[in-house]
């Protein structure tokens, strides 16, 4: 992994960044404050990994993921969802193999670190 994009809310941004730094310092992390700004950046550059908070998107997260994947077919995605996420939509995302990891808030560092280790080896 060389390029990681991070689109999460302010409340978890420091902890996710810290976990990434602990995991490996050999990559570049770019943070986006909104899904719109992330989507614009994804049109002009290739990325290896996206850690995406589903609540940063104003529309269906499944549709948002589909557009991002269209632009970056090899992109690995770890999706963070709220505990009250739309169950049917999450199941469709898993069935469609749209993400390589799924994390429910509030999460511990343990599970995010394990995903980073797993995805980093792929």
């Amino acid at each position: 992994m060389n390029t990681i994009s991070l689109c999460v809310h302010e409340d978890i941004m420091p902890s996710v960044k810290w976990l990434l730094t602990e995991f490996d310092s050999a990559f570049t992390i770019t943070s986006f404050r909104s899904f719109d700004s992330l989507e614009k950046a994804f049109k002009t550059k290739e990325w290896d990994l996206l850690i995406l908070d589903s609540t940063t998107s104003q529309e269906s997260i499944k549709d948002s993921l589909a557009r991002i994947k269209d632009q970056n077919p090899n992109l690995k995605i770890i999706l963070i969802i709220p505990p009250m996420a739309n169950k049917e939509e999450v199941i469709e995302i898993i069935q469609g193999k749209m993400v390589q990891g799924l994390v429910i808030k509030p999460f511990t560092g343990e599970v995010m670190s394990k995903y980073l280790e797993k995805v980093g080896k792929q």
Binding site: P83, M84, I91, I94, V111
Partner: protein, 144 residues
Amino acid sequence: MNSPDNEPSASVITWQDEMSVGVSEFDTHHKRIIALINKLQSSVARDDDGSITRDVLTEVSNYTLYHFFAEEDLMDKYGYPGAEAHKKEHLELTSKTLQLMNDAFRNRINIGGAVLDFLIRWLKQHIMITDKQYSAFFTGKGVS
């Protein structure tokens, strides 16, 4: 809710060697899930407002989802013939887990006892029957 007759003991489930699926990584995952289920049991017993239980339930759910992704990656890598049925069971369990999360966080339902029952039943069924079915396949592929 637990009745006095089925009050949970100190450890509701313990790892036993017969639970091994022959893949050390997944045995480690199962042991961790068992530890988290026992942690959930402890939190149910001492949690007044349900907040600790909700946090531990999220921890169990997250680790279980991670385990499912890891198992499915290995199945895809080696072309496990039972992958489709196994993934279907994962999806059903994920759906149930997401429903439990909704109940716990949206409706603030006291989910402790019901969740414990579900998790213990699932763990035993999934490890001892479903996961055991891939043991010979992965061992034959040199995965240990």
